[in-house]
């Protein structure tokens, strides 16, 4: 899988040459399969959009896939805004802080490490590269306890830094950046930078970073989505409601559905909250998809 823009141009050219078939039977049968699968992937999202316009009563008593006669969307939204003094929006803000923090810092650290591994020679370089590749195989959840104990000993439980710091370390990001920089940045550029009297920092920030911008965008998006969707790490590191990201907050509301004595069930809040938490991504996804794909096609990262 080549990462350079040149190969992308040729592939799209190739695909354009790939004419569509005139065989009607095969085309219709294929389209049926493709559309049925599309319906499967869209079904829960469509249901969510319908369900968030209903009151709890309507949810259980009106047709599942049809909008109710009396839309309750505005009332649900007002309830969401006022419930626990607008705690939901605090979670939105927290999710943004965690995702932007982990995305920006994680990408920068990965770029620096990848740059060092691809452009410098030093002792144990190969051992380090292999170790990073190997750590891709270590499941993140297995590290939860050491991470928790470390964050605790630093006194960072229930802080933004405590959640962001562990997410900055990203072996996939380092590996991705290493390969990307190797492919897209010729070594002569470093030499000519040195001749012009630039030090290593200047060469990295002024020459390398602009060249690898497409890779930075890809890695930022993948890290951002990974952090936005992360549940396990914040669950372990936080126990104060006001520090929760959306994922943990909405899970807690769901968990409270069955426990007695917590007032009326929060179905509408959970539904509209879930929708709002995926809305930005749903809107931006068609635009950003290409950047994301070039990254995951390379290594396949499970967030």
């Amino acid at each position: 899988m080549s990462l350079t823009s040149k190969s992308h141009a040729t592939t799209s050219l190739q695909r354009r040459n790939h004419k569509s078939s005139k065989d009607r039977v095969k085309t219709s049968l294929s389209m049926i399969l493709i559309i049925v699968m599309a319906a499967y992937f869209l079904f829960p999202l469509y249901w969510l959009i319908v369900a968030m316009t209903k009151s709890t009563n309507q949810l259980f008593n009106t047709s599942m896939l049809a909008f109710p006669a009396h839309l309750n969307l505005w009332a649900n939204l007002k309830w969401l805004n006022s419930y626990q003094n607008g705690m939901f929006w605090r979670w939105v803000l927290n999710s943004i802080i965690y995702a932007v923090g982990a995305g920006v810092l994680g990408t920068l650290v990965s770029a620096m490490a990848g740059y060092a591994l691809s452009k410098y020679n030093f002792k144990l370089k190969n051992t380090l590269s292999v170790a990073i590749l190997g750590s891709l195989m270590i499941p993140g959840a297995a590290l939860a306890i050491p991470v928790f104990l470390m964050v605790k000993s630093l006194g960072l439980i229930n802080t933004y830094a405590g959640v962001i710091l562990p997410m900055i370390v990203n072996p996939f990001g380092v590996y991705f950046m290493m390969v990307f920089i190797k492919e897209s940045m010729p070594g002569e550029l470093i030499d000519s930078g040195r001749v012009d009297g630039a030090n290593d920092y200047k060469i990295f920030f002024r020459i390398a970073l602009p060249i690898i911008r497409p890779g930075l965008v890809t890695l930022f998006l993948i890290s951002f989505i990974g952090a936005w969707n992360n549940f396990f790490l914040p669950l372990v590191l936080l126990n104060k409601t006001s520090f929760y990201p959306l994922t943990v907050g909405l899970q807690i509301w769901t968990a409270n559905l069955n426990s007695a004595g917590t007032g009326q069930p929060l179905y509408p809040l959970i539904l509209i909250g879930s929708f709002l938490s995926i809305l930005p991504m749903l809107i931006l996804f068609p635009i950003l998809r290409k950047h994301i794909v070039s990254g995951i096609a390379m290594g396949g990262v499970k967030a």
């Binding site: 899988m1 080549s2 190969s7 040729t10 592939t11 190739q14 040459n17 569509s20 078939s21 065989d23 095969k26 085309t27 049968l29 294929s30 389209m31 493709i34 699968m37 599309a38 992937f41 869209l42 829960p44 999202l45 249901w47 259980f60 599942m64 195989m137 270590i138 499941p139 993140g140 297995a142 939860a144 306890i145 050491p146 928790f148 969707n229 549940f231 396990f232 372990v236 994922t247 943990v248 909405l250 899970q251 769901t254 968990a255 409270n256 069955n258 539904l271 879930s274 938490s277 995926i278 991504m281 749903l282 998809r289 794909v293 070039s294 995951i296 096609a297 290594g299 396949g300 499970k302």
Partner: protein
């Protein structure tokens, strides 16, 4: 003293039951998901499908939905009170509506969640690899009289081999780590706290405060993950090796071929 915990883990029946549960889950779910992803990628790469761009976006969309939100959505949809469609399935289950939150069926409910969430993701990886196969290869196949199916079976699939192995290993690792979906469902239904190894580990540490034993179970799970991944890679590297080599040689000997396939192969091998 340190090894005593491992002895306890070795005899910890409920832990091994949960390992067996996710292993079974992994075999079934990963197979369904990857076969489906492959089929979709091959169809989207065939001349029989129109509006390919649109469908690629739709299939990939679940990747943008956090696992917890997906689990909440499907969790509600599994409740017969909220989803009357499930009552239609009563035909198969003897009158009672299908309840995917029952202790006997909840594992299949989770399989569906994971399939929904990750099929498009894997399809995207396969599709990206398919687009790096030069079209000259297909022309050659056509001259040899291959139809679309034969081209897919004899040319596209063998060229995807490395990618398929890689995605399978990652999916195996993912299955053994199963946590978010059953954790969310445990608040909607009665899933035991040690349903999966990771839930057991979480529970041991953060409900009982037994960090040392929890760490023991973590290490055991990592070892199981390593062994499973290595076994799979070993099994796939031995089998069919001669066959795929033959194809690679013909690919390399084809003079009309651009350099992209060659570099693709070189990288595909290096990356594992």
């Amino acid at each position: 003293m340190g090894l005593a915990n491992y002895l306890t883990a070795w005899q910890d029946k409920s832990f091994w039951i949960s390992v067996y549960r996710v292993a079974y889950y992994g075999v079934v779910q990963v197979t369904i998901m990857l076969v489906l992803a492959l089929i979709l990628a091959l169809f989207l790469d065939s001349p029989f499908v129109k509006s390919k761009g649109l469908f690629r976006v739709i299939y990939f969309l679940p990747y943008a939905v956090p696992g917890v939100i997906a689990a909440i959505m499907w969790g509600f949809l599994y409740s017969p009170d909220l989803n009357p469609i499930l009552q239609i399935f009563g035909v198969f289950t003897g009158g009672k509506p299908l309840n995917l939150l029952n202790s006997g069926t909840v594992l299949y409910g989770i399989m569906n969640m994971a399939t929904w969430a990750w099929t498009g993701y894997n399809m995207t990886i396969y599709f990206a690899s398919l687009t790096s196969i030069p079209l000259d290869l297909y022309d050659a196949a056509k001259i040899d009289g291959c139809n679309e199916f034969q081209t897919a079976w004899h040319i596209k699939l063998p060229l995807l081999r490395q990618v398929i192995i890689m995605t399978t290993v990652l999916s195996i690792i993912g299955s053994l780590q199963l946590f978010n979906e059953p954790f969310v469902l445990s608040s909607l239904t009665s899933i035991p706290a040690n349903f999966t190894p990771n839930m057991d580990i979480y529970n041991m540490a953060f409900a009982y405060g037994n960090f040392t034993y929890s760490a023991t179970l973590s290490i055991t799970l990592v070892l199981i993950t390593f062994i499973a991944s290595l076994l799979f890679m070993w099994a796939t590297s031995e089998r069919k090796k001669s066959k795929s080599k033959k194809i690679k040689n013909t690919v390399i000997n084809d003079k009309r071929l651009g350099t992209s396939t060659l570099s693709y192969h070189a990288k595909g091998e290096k990356s594992l």
